[in-house]
Amino acid sequence: MMMQLNKIAGAAFVAALVGLFASTADAQVRLDITRGRVEPMPIAITIFPGASPEVQQLGRDISQVITTDLERSGLFRPLDPKAFLQDLTSLDVQPRFADWRTLAAQALVQGAVEPLPGGQARVAFRLWDVFGGQQMEGQAYTTQPENWRRVAHLIADRIYTAITGETGYFDTRVVYIAESGPPLERVKRLAIMDQDGANSRYLTNGANLVLTPRFSPTAQEITYMSYFRNVPRVYLFNIDSGRQEVLGDFPGMTFAPRFMPDGNKVLLSMASNGNSEVYEMDLRTRKTARLTDHPAIDTSPSASPDGSKITFASDRGGSQQIYVMNADGSDPKRISFAKDKGRYATPVWSPRGDLIAFTRYANTDGNFYIGVMNPDGSGERLLAQGFLVESPTWAPNGRVLMYFAQARNGGRTRLYSIDLSGYNQREIITPQDASDPAWSPLIP
């Protein structure tokens, strides 16, 4: 177990990133994903060739994961390799751009895999602007073959960035709660997986109820809530060592944890005598400070990326709404106002700082929504709707949200992602029911 954990933590990724193809031409192929719905760009992704059957299989697998990543982003339309007119048998073969233009491919991904002494493999790719006939991007990676998925995600991120100008998010993970058992005897385990649902594995054994995991900014630690010994408290989990520790010595239930962007503090709520307040705990000094002071419920804190502000949910105005205060707790201001007396919950600040995602429950139609608004409360947009949708979490580039949806009558819980545009809703296939997703930052 620990061995595997070490591996997924990335320590074993014998990464030698070689910028062999440094000359990057001015990109003419561009997708502007900042405005509304985007027509997916046709892209040809060749099956990366190799000399031996094993290496060929590796090449096929890598091409497939790149294809799936880019397709699922909703921004690309990978073309069927059966239609390709040219077989790019090695990286040195120059593409016949006229052939690729006839397929209407705007971008072309060429690659190759070759085995290296010592069991490693070298995976290289070039991204071409088909109409300009110019290389946009190119990289080579030396890796252990078992890390091929990560290499594929890294390449997909490179392609995404070259074409959209935005940071990618494919080489990321998701912590979530894996749910099993009948509805009245749910077993909940902490689980971690790649953002595409691959490599899912448990981090806890299901003996204790666990909820709401969140990554640290380095993606090396998780803060979550556990009912260990029937005492609900916030814990820290180190992914590398597997070490778990209770966070602080709070007299009451602690819950709703979330790291501050610098990773040195954790925000959380503590309930004491029926009153929940927002606290921060400094992980170095172990000192705690109360940030809110109100007899209402104050919970679900989330800091702005520069650490200067904190958004949280409170029912101090009579029903649960979203507030923003300074990081020291001063000057709390309500930012959510719904005409239909809807309730707002789980505010989460975008890693870009420009938006706050939330869960909204509208009394009028009984539905739950996932939406976003500006940090001053303006510009509210609802992106997803369901009988019960909850717990939005941001991709590290702030362009995609993940959340979970629960079906009626104790039915399945599943994870979905949706673009900020409100389009491109995708289910993330998990081995079991899943809830409380939290997206990692980019893996260092």
Binding site: L209, M253, T299, N409
Partner: protein, 165 residues
Amino acid sequence: MKLRTVTAVAAIALLAACSTKKTEVAATAPAAAPPPPPPAAKPSGPAPDSLEYFNTVVGNTVQFDFDRYDLDAEDQARLRAQAQWLNQYANRTLTVEGHCDERGTREYNLALGDRRANAVRQYLVSQGVNANRVKLISYGKERPLCVSSDEGCWARNRRGVSAAQ
């Protein structure tokens, strides 16, 4: 008015529990001319100091309205009965569980469950129960009694449960 009625009903229920027991003892008396038969030692209901008595006769659960934590007259009557029982059996302690229906987010429901459990404790304390004997735990929406997505089931799940030890 309503409050009084409920109190009276609760009192009758308690009396009824007692009288049932008395009747039983009386009924066995005539037949007990020879040595008392073993069944006679067995009362018909749970012993008044038992957890079963607390859970079934006193009643261990109060209900809440949506997103509320106030106690209505019926709840208060039940909690007075709980307090009476706790005051009578001083070695007993309670963990009050606060529960919510599914119509709320997980974190808010944890806070709301705590608020409900605390409302129960406060009322018990107001009836003379030492606060040290009453612990709180919130389960939010994590421990439902039923999973139908309808008002009947949601109402059942919005509850405070006094788990006696």
